[in-house]
């Protein structure tokens, strides 16, 4: 029996014709909306190429190689392909890639960077390999409360906890929530990785452990409502945790902030005097249809002028950081990397601020800004940081 016989999508994967729709954004303006294809412009890196290579590997026409694994792991699971593919199996395209990755993991055949990423999460609860005891470093010097049954559990996530740039957005959100009078607390060093990237990398066993660990902890603390800084955590907790009994009310922070604004609790009256463009994070937009709330929040800020990029909402180009690629980095380097393409899109709007609602996008795009030498023209800011300024909070 060949591996294809037991592959979950054995009866589907041959249906990809490689027509190439998956490379386009919704407005058809170019073939650069599949991040790996945009980066390398070889058919092997296109969505159809990945599926055909997967099938060839599973039916033993093609041997496994590290290059094959890198091609598979370079997919950021941004779901652009699913939006564009006109055929009925489109809902399973990302699942087919994830299932292929699971097969590789089952056989211990993954790129070294993926192995390190997963090992770090297993050992340290984060992909960076930083100590669990340093997870709360983002909140040092603040009076942010530990979670003890407040209305909201603020889940910060790995990037917001450890990355020095993203830590600023994590603190900004905490400040905003506090100023708006929201009842919330954080887990500090007791927080664990949400597992969204682990799931997308195909490590189902580790994901299950993480999900169960988090669910048990949240339940033990009596948490009912969770607000996340990251759309990645939001996606895992909202869509995957219920499969393991984790039935929480999960909010991306922009949703909660917008509710607070509508209730008159979030003050943005100082305004934000800038022309700004907004980058849709994949796990908020294409994965969870969260296109409008961030825009409504931004539209509520006096003096802020929103300019859309040609590729926005479900046509947005992924920053290249999904499915662990913010750390595994199979798409980095070179001016065709998704992140560098994306900051160029932002610069073309004439905006001086590129707004994001995801700590991974924040880090990816800020790094790209430096590589493109656009720092004097454009700044990347998280919406939480923009609203902090609009609220007159220093």
């Amino acid at each position: 029996m060949m591996p294809l016989d037991t592959y979950e999508f054995n009866d589907v994967i041959h249906r990809c014709f490689r027509c190439g729709y998956c490379k386009f954004p919704t407005n058809w303006m170019d073939v650069n909306n599949c991040p790996p294809y945009a980066r390398f412009r070889m058919e092997s890196y296109s969505c159809g190429g990945r599926l055909w290579l997967t099938r060839a590997w599973l039916n033993e026409t093609l041997e496994w190689s590290e290059h094959l694994a890198e091609i598979l792991y370079s997919c950021t699971t941004c779901r652009n392909c699913e939006v564009k593919c006109p055929l009925s199996f489109n809902v399973d395209i990302v699942n087919m890639v994830v299932a292929a990755r699971s097969e590789m993991i089952e056989r211990g055949k993954v790129p070294p960077a993926v192995r390190r990423f997963l090992e770090n999460i297993d050992l340290h609860g984060n992909p960076y390999g930083s100590a669990r005891s340093r997870r709360d470093s983002w909140m040092q010097g603040t009076d942010i409360e530990r979670y003890e049954g407040q209305e909201y559990l603020y889940y910060v996530g790995c990037t917001g906890s450890y990355d020095t740039r993203a830590q600023r957005s994590a603190r900004a959100l905490a400040t905003l929530l506090g100023k708006a009078g929201a009842s919330f607390g954080v887990l500090g060093n007791h927080e664990n990785c949400d597992g969204n990237e682990v799931h997308k990398l195909g490590e189902a066993g580790l994901f299950e452990m993480l999900a169960q660990d988090n669910i048990e902890r949240f339940k033990a603390l009596g948490a009912k409502k969770i607000v996340t800084l990251s759309p990645h955590a939001y996606n895992a907790m909202k869509n995957l945790y219920p499969l393991y009994g984790g039935d929480f009310q999960v909010f991306h922070y922009t949703e909660l902030l917008y509710e607070l604004f509508k209730e008159g609790k979030l003050d943005v009256s100082n305004g934000f005097d800038a022309r700004l463009t907004y980058h849709d994070p994949c796990f908020l937009g294409r994965w969870n249809d969260g296109y409008e709330t961030p825009r409504r929040l931004l539209a509520a800020v006096p003096s802020l002028r929103l300019a859309e990029m040609e590729k926005s909402r479900d046509a947005a180009l992924c920053c290249g950081g999904g499915a662990g690629n913010f750390e595994i980095d199979l798409l980095g380097g070179g001016d065709s990397s998704p992140a560098r393409r994306r900051v160029r899109h932002a610069a073309e709007t004439g905006a001086t601020v590129l707004a994001v609602a995801c700590p991974k996008c924040l880090v990816m795009l800020e790094d790209a800004l430096k590589a493109e030498e656009l720092e004097e023209k454009l700044a990347v800011r998280d919406i939480a940081e923009i609203l902090t300024e609009a609220g007159g909070i220093r």
């Binding site: 249906r15 014709f17 027509c19 190689s65």
Partner: protein
């Protein structure tokens, strides 16, 4: 390290060259039934200069060169039959100029149909181009080079007729220009310089097109599709004659197919109509449906099925996923319109003999001057037996095209040999001399037009 690989990396860069199994595997396939053949190298250049250097390298090393655009011909034209260097040209994807007054666009060879459609809609909404029924990833240049036809084929003919100029890298590495651009003027016309049409229909055996100028046309504000149906296939040629006689349509297509079952045996027509005002639209509809086709409706021979506003741009093709099989291929032909009834009947017989639900389509090219008639055969990519059946049906259909007095459009190697077998000896000798002069090393897409 392999010297050719290193030389290719020096010309382009290491990221856009590969001799690894994964790239060689992916680029070995056509999307239809053609047998795969692996290239030895895959390279994706960005500039004409890089293409030129790659071709010079191939000449020095006596290695085949296979140019690839969108790779959607479904005829196996970019399968590297004899290995060599496969050049993926899709990175050359800049729209260099759109001239609104002269109504043309200058494009690099990798610009896709979808990209041009989107660009015109965003920046020049008053202009459009003749977009083929291929997926939007098909390239404008590739489609023109195979004599493709688009949704303006009825008034303006083949897409190869829309070309105003070319930049070509010859098989020996020289770069040439054709049309007005050849004398340093703008790219506004292909005439009246001496005719050197050496690249259309040659299946990439005479050179690599790196730039082209393509004609654009006024995009009317209202565009839509009217539908008409008859039962008797014998009526189709005269109906097409009457509709094209009004000169009011942008695109006229007749088709018949076994799926869905209620359509079995019926001949459907789609007629694209465009107008700048409701008054113009009403006038055109009246001329087509009432004056030209009213008689069929009154006699009970045909039915008007309504008019839908808006064109699906680019078109969505779901044929490939028939029966969840992931594959289809078709034989296209350029055929006199009067042959429609026989094309339909004989094609249906072939399909039914091979246990494939039939699908036939005829798109009018010119004002009734010819049609592109296609017989489509779906297969299941996971089932080699269905692929074999489809391949047999395709070959039978290639034979049928010539038997019926048509010309095989974008023939694969099987069809090419059939054509060569019937080709006027003088023409064949001229083609051989042209090929020998242009490609003395025989490096360009070998296996195509073999034995010319």
């Amino acid at each position: 390290m392999n010297a050719i690989y290193q030389a290719l990396a020096d010309i382009v860069d290491a990221e856009h060259v590969s001799d690894r199994p994964e790239e060689l595997y992916i680029y070995s396939f056509d999307l239809g039934t053609a047998e795969p053949h692996r290239p030895d190298y895959v390279v994706a250049p960005r500039t004409t200069g890089q293409v030129r250097e790659i071709v010079r390298l191939a000449n020095r090393e006596k290695v085949p060169v296979v140019p690839l655009g969108g790779g959607l011909s479904l005829a196996g034209l970019a399968v590297p039959l004899k290995g060599g260097i496969l050049i993926d040209l899709k990175r050359m994807d800049r729209i260099l100029e759109v001239n609104e007054k002269g109504r043309y666009a200058v494009l690099e060879c990798g610009v896709s149909q979808g990209q041009l459609t989107s660009y015109l809609a965003a920046h020049h909404p008053g202009l459009t181009h003749s977009e083929p029924g291929a997926p939007p990833a098909a390239t404008v240049a590739g489609n023109a080079l195979i004599h493709g036809q688009g949704d303006l084929a009825q008034p303006y003919g083949f897409n190869s007729d829309q070309v105003n100029g070319l930049e070509v890298v010859l098989p020996t590495g020289e770069v040439c220009r054709f049309g007005s651009c050849a004398i340093g003027a703008s790219w506004f016309t292909n005439h009246p310089l001496p005719d050197v049409g050496l690249f259309f229909g040659w299946c990439g055996t005479t050179g690599l097109i790196t730039k082209l100028s393509i004609r654009l046309y006024p995009a009317k504000r209202i565009r839509g599709v009217g539908q008409f149906v008859v039962e008797d296939e014998e009526l189709v040629p005269e109906i097409i004659g009457r509709v094209t006689g009004t000169q009011m349509a942008e695109d006229v297509i007749a088709y018949s197919r076994a799926i869905p079952p209620f359509g079995l045996g019926l001949q459907h027509f789609t007629v694209n109509i465009a107008a700048n005002s409701e008054k113009e639209l009403e006038f055109k509809q009246e001329l087509i449906w009432d004056d030209a086709l009213g008689e069929y409706i009154r006699r009970g021979d045909g039915g008007y099925l309504g008019f839908t506003r808006g064109l699906e741009h680019p078109q969505i093709s779901k044929t490939s996923d028939y029966k969840k099989g992931g594959g289809f291929e078709y034989v296209g032909s350029i055929m006199p319109i009067e042959k429609y009834p026989e094309c339909y009947r004989r094609g249906r017989e072939i399909s039914e003999r091979h246990d494939i639900p039939y699908t036939v389509t005829g798109r009018c090219v010119g004002v009734g001057h010819s049609m592109m008639f296609a017989w489509t055969y779906a297969f299941n990519r996971a089932d080699p037996e269905t692929m074999r059946q489809a391949r047999e049906a395709l070959h039978e259909t290639d034979d049928l095209v010539l038997e019926l007095g048509g010309v095989i459009w974008k023939p694969g190697t099987y069809g090419q040999q059939l054509i060569l077998g019937r080709l006027d000896p003088g023409t064949r000798a001229l083609m051989r001399r042209i090929k020998e002069v242009l490609d003395p090393g025989g490096i360009m897409n070998p296996g195509n037009w073999e034995g010319i």
